[in-house]
């Protein structure tokens, strides 16, 4: 399958390994990955902080770029069949916020009336990594080996906006050599919440402290998740407290130990 990668702004700028591992994994599974170079960001930070008017051109830009990627090559597009992002949160924004923002801004006379429908069309073919693998490509055993003790944090947006359910866990259970340990109170938010982590830093930190305590009880070498943002938060806390547990994006585990050799 020909698949467009939406790297997400955070992975692109700060956590390239999550996006690189996604490419390596999909290519190993025999798929062709394209990277529409005009892409930037889904605009979620703006929307969730109340800046919908500022988010609008970012949303429009995202729709333009991936609409073109999804257009058949005969019509000048990239001819991809699906868009994938290594982030439940960014896909959640594409799927649940883009059309909402477009409609609200259209009501204010700031957006084209057609933008919401175009956003929905792009969203309908945009998938979070575990969704793409399990639902679209029909694989759970991606042939990876990762001989480590790992615990999985289901990020809020993958869990409750996308309803990925146990897809990431099914993928992890099929990884050879991986010792999967259940995370206590796994479904509790880590406290990131975008600008919430700064605007309400004390509450955010209190939530993080409980998450880190839960991670520590698992005695895992690695805590994984499908979102670089939540991992940045959990990792920032682990690092500050000098807890040895590493944060590793789900894509990097599914790419298999030593995947960097393919870079």
């Amino acid at each position: 399958m020909r698949i467009a990668l939406f790297a997400t702004c955070l992975a692109d700028a700060m956590f390239p390994r999550a996006a690189q591992a996604t490419v390596v994994l999909l290519e190993r599974l025999g798929h062709e990955v394209v990277f529409p170079s005009g892409q930037t960001c889904c605009g979620q930070m703006h929307v969730n902080t109340g800046y919908q008017r500022e988010a609008l051109p970012v949303v429009e830009h995202h729709v333009d770029v991936f609409e073109a990627a999804l257009r058949p090559r005969a019509e000048g597009g990239d001819g991809v069949e699906a868009v994938v992002a290594p982030s439940g949160s960014c896909v959640g924004s594409v799927r649940h916020q883009h059309a909402l923002v477009a409609r609200r801004m259209a009501e204010q006379g700031r957006a084209d009336a057609g933008l919401a429908d175009r956003a929905e069309a792009v969203a309908a073919r945009t998938y979070e990594l575990s969704e793409l693998l399990v639902d679209v490509l029909g694989v759970t055993d991606v042939g990876a080996r990762y001989p480590h003790r790992v615990t999985y944090h289901p990020t809020c947006h993958s869990l409750r906006m996308l309803r990925v359910d146990d897809k990431p866990l099914r993928l992890l259970r099929a990884v050879h050599g991986l010792d999967l340990v259940e995370l206590p109170d796994a479904e509790q938010c880590c406290g990131f919440g975008g600008t919430f982590s700064v605007k309400n830093a004390d509450t955010s930190t209190a939530m993080l402290a409980d998450k880190i305590r839960a991670v520590q009880t698992t005695r895992s070498e690695v805590v994984t998740a499908g979102d670089s943002s939540c991992l940045m938060h959990i990792g920032g806390g682990l690092s500050r407290l000098r807890v040895g547990t590493k944060t590793v994006h789900l894509a990097e585990i599914l790419a298999g130990e030593g995947w960097e050799a393919a870079l």
Partner: protein, 524 residues
């Protein structure tokens, strides 16, 4: 008032200090988080109730269908609110009750006060009333209004009694004293309950017995009761109060006069609709299949004269002076916002509080409103109005304005809500409303854009163009000089709020975009 957000012309709630706290949420939360006993109490109580709720909700394989029905019924109520209210009024009146309408808190308080006074005689005035726990009367500050007129309002719900005795304020919709543990409650009783047994232990059963003994004489002698209502059925004029202890039954049954204060949104169209809500509410609130007692009455109730199910009127049963006060107090302003009106669907079960990771850590007082937690964060700003950054905003910012931001948008509240109120989406909507009003106010000459606004505008300008974005990434890479061992331990404000407790990652030597261009650049 004019700069408040909301539909022009529809007034928000009267300012009585019950919806707008003294501190902004971040400031109040910081104080609450420092109280380790509070965090322990809240963690214990919320995890207990979460487990109970999950168990009884799991028993019903049609829970999602019940939620869908509940949401649809409430949406229908809002669409036909004027007609349903008039129908309710007709049916209550036909069965001997009286209906009053109150535009705001002050008007509601005046009505109740007049009714309490009218229940006494010059020789024998009514000096106290018994109260069933009610959010509506908390919201309008009724107890304080009655006290100013020399009338004592005695709270009879155990948790409300604990709050009242300790001169505290409620911190939870269902369990107002959730922030107190058994040892603290024992001490409150010892300090404030007249004639209490000095040998009182902190066993919950013993504490409950002390409350029973303390209130018993008061109940048996009460002449006037004030209640709220969980539901009112337009089709029949029936009111319902859902409770556990029997204090509700005492208040609704024994006094001669009953005054019920109810928000205009609490209606259900038909008797049959109770089949949905009597299943949704108890399982969501106390995590029980059914709460111990639910009382229903219509007007000035009569027993049935015939055999069971008979229709002839028999003897009086319960208060024969019944007054229903229908309260607006910002509800119509809330109704005016199509994206926000769902907040009026709330049935006050408090399931969203119990699952909220923010509420669990800060408790209810941090919200500064009688409606705390996720539902409070969407209801309070709409009932009370937000200030934006207007000239009349309180110094340091309006506490109410900070409520829509008091959430990590984790979405647990939506999943728990028995009537499917999409609280996360409403939080995002209210944040936008807040920012847009603030921007409009800033357009007044001489007022610069806020620093946050400037940063957001700049970021948006960068992020709508890949060329600018990749340049910005290169700038970010300069941040590597701040890092040691791949992490950054300190950043300037506002990002210092992050690095106070968390390390920041060092930017990578190569961005994904750069890597792609280097390795696969020919491909697209």
């Amino acid at each position: 008032m004019t700069t408040f957000l909301g539909m022009p012309g529809l007034p928000v709630a009267t300012e009585r200090g019950t919806l707008r706290g003294a501190d902004t949420f971040p400031v109040a939360a910081r104080k609450a988080l420092a109280d380790t006993q509070l965090r322990k109490n809240l963690g214990h109580a919320t995890s207990t109730i979460r487990a109970k709720r999950a168990r009884v909700v799991g028993e019903l394989d049609d829970w999602e269908e019940l939620r869908a029905a509940g949401a649809a019924i409430k949406a229908d109520v809002m669409a036909r609110l004027p007609e349903l209210l008039v129908q309710l009024e007709e049916n209550v009146t036909a069965r001997g009750g009286h209906v009053h309408w109150a535009r705001d808190a002050d008007e509601a308080n005046r009505i109740v006060l007049d009714l309490v006074r009218a229940a006494g005689t010059p020789d024998d005035p009514v000096t106290s009333v018994v109260k069933v726990k009610s959010m509506a009367t908390q919201e309008i500050g009724l107890n304080e209004a009655l006290a100013e007129a020399g009338i004592a309002a005695v709270e009879t719900d155990l948790a409300e009694l604990i709050v009242q005795l300790s001169d505290d304020t409620p911190s939870h919709i269902l369990v107002p004293a959730i922030h107190r543990n058994r040892a603290e409650i024992r001490q409150i009783f010892l300090d404030h309950m007249p004639d209490v047994d000095p040998g009182l232990t902190d066993e919950p059963r013993v504490l409950a017995m002390a409350a029973r003994a303390y209130l018993r004489r008061t109940f048996l002698a009460a002449r006037v009761a004030v209640s709220g209502a969980n539901f009112a059925i337009a089709e029949t004029g029936t009111l319902a109060v859902v409770e556990s202890e029997g204090n509700g039954r005492m208040c609704l049954t024994l006094p001669q006069t009953l005054v019920t204060v109810m928000g205009i949104e609490k209606l259900l169209p038909t008797w049959r609709d109770l089949e949905v809500f009597l299943q949704l509410l108890p399982r969501s609130s106390t995590g029980e299949r059914m709460n111990p007692y639910t009382s229903m009455w219509t007007g000035a109730p009569k027993t049935s004269g015939g055999t069971s199910g008979g229709t002839a009127d028999g003897a009086p049963d319960g208060p024969q002076e019944f007054h229903l006060v229908l309260l607006d107090n910002g509800r119509t302003a809330t109704l005016a916002d199509e994206a926000g009106r769902q907040a009026l669907h709330c049935i006050r079960c408090s399931a969203c509080l119990n699952v909220c990771p923010v509420y669990e850590r800060t408790g209810g007082h941090a919200y500064g409103s009688v409606y705390p937690g996720p539902i409070g964060a969407v209801l309070t700003p709409q009932l009370a109005g937000m200030h934006g950054h207007g000239a009349d905003a309180p110094a340091g910012g309006d506490p109410v304005d900070t409520l829509p931001y008091a959430s990590s948008l984790c979405g647990a509240c939506f999943d728990a809500c028995p009537v499917r109120i999409d609280i996360p989406s409403m939080l995002v909507h209210l944040r936008a409303k807040h920012v847009e009003t603030a921007q409009a106010q800033r357009r007044v000459p001489g007022l610069p854009a806020s620093a946050e606004n400037a940063a957001m505008s700049a970021a948006a300008w960068v992020m709508r163009d890949a060329g600018r974005f990749s340049l910005a990434e290169k700038g970010l890479q300069l941040g590597r000089v701040l890092a040691r061992d791949g992490r950054i331990r300190s950043l300037p404000p506002p990002l210092s709020a992050w690095t106070t407790s968390r390390d920041a990652p060092a930017p990578p030597p190569e961005t994904f975009r750069q890597w792609w261009a280097r390795t696969r650049g020919d491909r697209s």
